[in-house]
């Protein structure tokens, strides 16, 4: 019986979403009354004062949630959540890293989409720097990666950036798809 209580506790923890009595009965191959009793026991244990996690009945099931009174503390964590680069940002950063210096038009040609917004984000996050203007009509800005970019990826300098060929070496299939010369358009 203790075992079963642990199993239910673990199921609720792992599922994340609320689990219904039916679902728990199904998963544990036990009848619902027994589960109900164990849930009552767990609820009692968790909902004592001094616990940061509560077991609550919600949306037709049971779920672990943080104690609502601790919300002011927990919000601190949310704010600090690791920021992740979107796929679009990663793609743009990759082009700039491997092709620098490049103009926005060149990036957009390669990606096939407007990249102004993404580039703005990258600039704001200090991953890019502006190298000057290209000597062609219209004098577009030239972009390159910043010092911070190197720090972030733990690179000594740009020569440390792995070439695609080095990765292609890991996978012969990749080698055939490589590499594209700078395109004039």
């Amino acid at each position: 019986m203790t075992e079963l209580k642990a199993v239910i506790e673990a199921f609720l923890f792992v599922a994340g979403d609320p689990l219904s009595l039916d679902k728990l009965a199904d998963l544990t191959e036990t009848d619902k009354t027994a589960i109900k009793d164990l849930i009552a026991l767990l609820t009692q244990e968790y909902n004592r004062s001094g616990r940061g996690i509560h077991l609550v009945e919600v949306a037709g099931g049971y779920q672990f949630r943080s104690d609502p009174t601790l919300a002011p503390w927990l919000r601190r964590l949310q704010k600090e959540r690791v920021q992740r680069l979107s796929a679009a940002a990663l793609e743009t950063l990759a082009i700039i890293a491997y092709r620098q210096p490049v103009t926005r038009a060149e990036i957009e040609y390669l990606r096939g989409v407007d990249s102004g917004g993404v580039m703005k984000t990258l600039l704001e996050r200090n991953l890019l720097r502006i190298l000057g203007k290209k000597d062609v009509p219209g004098r577009p800005l030239l972009y390159a990666t910043s010092r911070y970019f190197l720090e972030l990826f733990g690179l000594k300098d740009l020569n440390d950036l792995p070439t695609l060929k080095e990765f292609a070496g890991l996978d012969p299939e990749l080698a055939e798809a490589l590499p594209l010369e700078p395109s004039d358009h």
Binding site: V82, R84, L152, L155, L161, A177
Partner: protein, 255 residues
């Protein structure tokens, strides 16, 4: 000697050698090189007779064994011994010992409680972990991800560069109808499948606009499980709504 050895069960020539040494109960520091070489070559031969591919690495090791054997068989010439150094087997023994050590480590790893095999985290958390998350860096992308992103992009662009361009007048409504047709057949379509590889850029753009419109109308839901995983479109509209949209090309009568 009967051999019922399948090379596929061995991760490489060192693994095979270790197995032979153990099964002969030899001392790894004093390998009977003639016997081991003979057995090793027999196995390779049998594989060849069975027309099985023998990986180049196994052949390289065969050559090394023969070389060591020949040096062992030479009468001991003191000058030569001094020149060539120690026991001809020394390097092989060292490699075998080292290899054995990592093989043992691999076995220990296998026994450690592994995430998602023995130990579980709340769903969702685990998927996040797949991204490198150095605690103090604000971003969590590895250099490998960066390089792969560039590579993927380049391989797509290449196809397109050689594509013949025919100017066409494309109507978003046609593409809305097209997506609706797919959604009538499937309740879930992958984002990737929506964009045929043969599509030109303008077609890609129009398809995307059609998708945006359908999302705006709340006819489809869009789902992505983890940051870089496939994006899925989920049918939200009823079939009836989709049939109507397919006919009108995106104009939804009030209901």
């Amino acid at each position: 000697m009967t051999v019922d050895i399948n090379l596929e069960n061995f991760s490489g020539p060192l693994d095979l050698l270790l197995h032979l040494i153990k099964s002969q109960e030899m001392d790894i520091y004093d390998i009977r090189i003639v016997k081991i070489t003979e057995q090793y070559l027999t196995i390779i031969d049998q594989m060849k007779q069975l027309d099985l591919d023998v990986a180049g690495e196994f052949l390289v090791m065969a050559a090394q064994l023969i070389h060591i054997k020949s040096r062992m068989l030479l009468p001991v010439n003191e000058e030569l011994a001094e020149e060539e150094g120690e026991d001809p087997r020394a390097e092989l023994v060292k490699r075998l010992l080292e290899y054995q050590r990592y093989k043992q480590a691999a076995a220990l790893f296998e026994q450690l409680p592994q995430l998602e095999r023995d130990v579980f985290l709340p769903h969702g958390v685990f998927e996040d972990l797949l991204l490198e998350s150095p605690q103090d860096a604000e971003m969590s992308i590895s250099i490998y991800q960066l390089a792969s992103a560039f590579h993927q992009l380049m391989s797509h662009v290449k196809i397109e560069v050689f594509h013949e361009v025919v100017r066409e007048n494309l109507a978003v409504s046609d593409y809305i109808a097209r997506i609706c047709r797919q959604l009538i057949d499937h309740s879930r379509i992958s984002f990737r499948d929506l964009f045929h590889t043969g599509y030109q850029r303008s077609e890609l753009v129009v398809t995307f606009l059609a998708l945006l419109e359908l999302t705006r109308l709340r006819m489809v839901g869009i789902e992505q499980v983890t940051t870089f995983s496939d994006i899925w479109l989920m049918r939200v509209a009823t079939e009836d709504q989709l049939h109507r949209l397919q006919l009108t090309g995106g104009i939804l009568d009030d209901d």
